[in-house]
Symmetry: C2
Subunit: 262 residues, 2 copies
Amino acid sequence: MGKLFVVGTGPGDVALLTPKAEQALQASSDLVAYGLYLELMGDICAGKKHHDLPLGEEIGRARLALDLAASGKTTALVSSGDIGIYAMATLVFELLDLQLQGKETGSDHSAAWLDVEIEVIPGISAMQAGASRVGALLGHDFCTVSLSDLLTPWETIEKRIHCAGEGDFVISFYNPVSKKRDWQLNKARDILLQYRPDTTPVLIGRQLSREDENISIITLGQLDAKDVDMFTLVSVGNSESRHLVNGNREWIYTPRGYSKKL
Amino acid sequence: MGKLFVVGTGPGDVALLTPKAEQALQASSDLVAYGLYLELMGDICAGKKHHDLPLGEEIGRARLALDLAASGKTTALVSSGDIGIYAMATLVFELLDLQLQGKETGSDHSAAWLDVEIEVIPGISAMQAGASRVGALLGHDFCTVSLSDLLTPWETIEKRIHCAGEGDFVISFYNPVSKKRDWQLNKARDILLQYRPDTTPVLIGRQLSREDENISIITLGQLDAKDVDMFTLVSVGNSESRHLVNGNREWIYTPRGYSKKL
């Protein structure tokens, strides 16, 4: 019986790939991943059998990884970022859950999935890469909200944004836009503007930690979906987040309130 | 003028320390950190000047790191986990902010802080280490709430827990208890029980990724502060999080809803 590593490779820069993730890739004969992620990893993935499936084929990819491991191959299912955060790990367990309930019908080998040893390896998520590049945006209570309404009803997403606003959480929006989804981010902005000022600092981080990284600091009032694509993280400060300008460097941080005690 | 690295070293296991963080430690002559964190890193920190200050001396530690860097020394300010998440990074920027406003009075060298080059390096946070050990608990929208009311009024914390409950976020509690704070976690549990069932799965992760790691999966109804200490992460699933038992392995995951589409 094989082993399945479920591996997050971080935002892109191999210097943010953990040794544990690298060891898992090296121990595997078969890698299941969207091609671009593996290209970022360079030589580490050389000589492995690479199983690619198009974006959107997430269930197929998780099934294939379980099938390969069940057939005896040491397999890595790979996502960029943290594979446990809006990524493939949860799908592996959704499929296992279906199998345990006797409802999985997509694989002829799914009975053997239950014997596969599974190890999940976390990675640096985009919100962390982004926050670190601009200072300490996640310095106090924060939340994440995916704006993709493919699987989650928009009413649920909208309610979460209201709750995040009401609770004054720093908010990172994952999947802010896609080719077919262009209005959700502006709607999210308008909801947040009911709770925090239009001067609230916002991080727009595109291709974080990669060669073509582009980072900008704007205000909530300036946030517009037309400036954001699917490779972009959007993080919105809370009502106390501060934008500092020090010469030609600028920073955003969210205080915990130490300076009040000085 | 020196450089200040602000470095998160991950939960403890050096296999979860990123190469970027390791390089920063190696490039530094001076390390400012609570002693225990450096012990976990082993040989990487050998031969460096180690500036220790007791827990609770957070402002002093951030000031010392800025002073050392301003004096020309390549310095690393180090926390375990992600230094940007409830850790020292935000303090560096709170101090810089005070200096920019002309309000910093704790250091004779603070004018020179503004010339220090600062680089923040993220790390794997406890919630990620914990979620990965039990499956995919952070698979959908989540938030973090610190239960420490030393700097944040309890009313603010309580409101956030209500909002997190209302929004059905997965919630990770940082600083769940301390020697002097023992009632906040049970109060937080009682608030969440107004929003989600007492069967909701909960992860209790103590000393995550370290030699004496201890992980248990309980229910929200069973959560009790007496079973938790300051080395423990508590993550509470949302109303859809599932507890799977497969032979002698158990998992928690939070579905994104792919299986509804099958």
